[in-house]
Amino acid sequence: MHVATSSAFKENAHRALGDSGLQRALARSGSSFIARRAAAVANLPEFERLRDTARDIKNHTLAHLDFYLETYEAKVLASGGQVHWCADADEARAAVLAICQKAGARTVTKGKSMVGEELAINEHLERNGIEPVETDLGEYIIQLRHELPSHIIAPAFHLNMEDWEEAFRKSHTDLPADRVFAERRDILTEARTKLRSRFLAADVGITGANFLIAETGSSVIVTNEGNGDLTQTLPRVHIVLASIEKMVPTIEDCTSLLRVLARSATGQDFSVYTTFSTGARRPGDPDGPEAYHVVLVDNGRSAMIGTEFQEMLRCIRCAACMNHCPVYGAVGGHAYGWVYPGPMGAVLTPSLIGVKQAGHLPNASTFCGKCESVCPVRIPLPKLMRHWREREFERHLSPASVRWNLGLWGFVARRPALYRLMTRAAALGLGWLGRKRGRFSRMPLAGGWTEARDLPAPEGDTFFARYAREQRSRMPS
């Protein structure tokens, strides 16, 4: 099982900055998500209003979540499915295993599910003699490499072509040595061929859910590959892993959220496959699973309701926040140390695994606000990160040096005369020291800055002094 290393974010980030393969992957892919989303948004004049609609639908649902969950359950039962309520990860793992064992399952195919990652369901099945097979292309290689995904919609975001080839040669032992992987197409074809037989042989298919619909008892998945549909259509049993906040009231509400989901995520107007599943095979149906189970997972969500973090439960997992985040763009997803990276991860992870483990993540932000500006359900991510920072400080969880320095800064900042005196002295002193080169390549206490770039020497006076001077000169005489 992957142990969370979120508390070591600083070390993780440091290692990520020195990882040339990762840096190559980040440089290549970073801007393409941003450009594609921008093009899709520009193509839909109503987009900003649709974001308001999406936010309002989610707020309405969360305010009546108990009602909608119960209504949803009744609809699932009426359509021949079953719902398994699970308060925590242990219960959810046990529920999935019990369904698989009852079905006599030997292999299980899996569509991409972040809740599945959260539960580490693959490890649990393996320990109990059931072989899980990830079928999303990105998840497949992550499984071969025994890694966590580094991005919530592009699990293999951190990998390059040679990593794919290496993983395939190592694990596909039937490959002839002269098999060529010159192009991406060759990789895709190999994975398609390998996984086709797994799809057909699997006893159980596990998918996630992007939405659960109370009106009809349906679960909804979106994919571009079609792996989710093969996973949930071919085996005898379909298990849906879904957390409680995936709920929406009606098909129309779901449709409105779908209009912002793909555009925010990949910049597509709509994903290739958007599939609504409702119960098991009906009389006369020539295909589809004989049993349909929903494993409904709480695992920390209900405790967020009524707190300042309730807004995080609007998240529809599009990844726009991490695609636009300068910190994610510099260190990638693994540095965050657990399942959910980027700004949404920095807010959600402390809620799910505790502020002690992950309280450091909300510090990994420049507070530039880009994440909030692109969030399709308008989650105020910087504000929520600030709440976590306050909690971390209150609970004395931040390192002593940080606390001591913050305390010192607080002392000075609350005494304006002292603050101005000190900054003025520093500005003049540094200006004099750097008068020749105009910059510093090294500086005591600022090694983190000067390691990667020069620190400009101050020119002239402080901002306060200059501001006061300009105000005076603007006064009508």
Binding site: D66, S218, P249, Y273
Partner: protein, 223 residues
């Protein structure tokens, strides 16, 4: 029981007990009415232009389309498409009355089996329930006469769609489904173009696990 634990935790957070009857009744009313939310204006067009928008969007998403005048031209369009792609004329076809009503014998070289797709089938012919102009999306509710496997298991999916079944927005397609089918079928797939993946270096490649090719034969049935 975990159900009660989860629901009680939610109610504690919301600082109330179970929802009062009058409020629950209001929410049930909303579910029954399933009000439409904001619908983008782009598909609010005369029907002919909606069909054109649908065609343009399918092609934008790497699908292909042949427009034919009537049912009689469908077998020819299918056979010609397969020949142009260098594919054998062996098909698994949806056992749908509208497809059965077509006289396929005009193209005797097409070898047609009816039913669901198996792992060895290369080409499927599927019946579209409706199509959505807004994004070039096809709607396939599962049924005895419309197997789900035809949408995902073959290398090439050919879809027979009547122009009269093209609507503007998704909401209109859902209304068709509610009025003509009623309760939600087991599976409703909304398909927009052929299968693809960008998981390798974030570069788009067609033909991941689903069909590599999606071809629509659009029958202009004069509406």
């Amino acid at each position: 029981m975990s159900k009660d634990a989860v629901l009680n935790a939610i109610r504690r957070g919301l600082r109330r007990g179970a929802l009062p009857d009058d409020q629950a009744a209001m929410l049930r009313g909303r579910l029954e009415q399933h009000p439409r939310q904001l619908i983008p204006a782009r598909s609010r067009l005369p029907h002919g232009e909606q069909v054109d928008l649908f065609v343009a969007n399918v092609e934008k998403e790497f699908g292909t389309i042949t427009r034919v005048a009537d049912d009689g031209a469908v077998p020819g369009a299918v056979a010609d498409y397969l020949a142009a792609q260098n594919l054998p004329g062996v098909l698994v076809m949806a056992p749908h009355p509208a497809l059965r009503a077509i006289d396929w014998s005009v193209r005797p070289l097409l070898e047609i089996r009816e039913g669901r797709a198996e792992g060895t089938d290369m080409v499927s012919v599927q019946h579209a329930f409706a199509a959505i102009a807004e994004t070039g999306t096809l709607m396939f509710p599962s049924a005895a006469e419309r197997p789900t496997t035809l949408n995902i298991l073959t290398d090439t999916e050919i879809v027979v769609l009547r122009a009269s079944r093209v609507v503007g927005a998704y909401e209109e397609a859902w209304d068709l489904l509610r009025s003509e089918i009623g309760a939600m079928p087991r599976n409703v797939m909304l398909v927009t173009g052929p299968s693809r993946s960008a998981d390798i270096e974030q570069a788009l490649e067609l033909g991941a696990h689903g069909p590599r090719r999606l071809h629509v034969v659009l029958v202009e049935d004069g509406v």
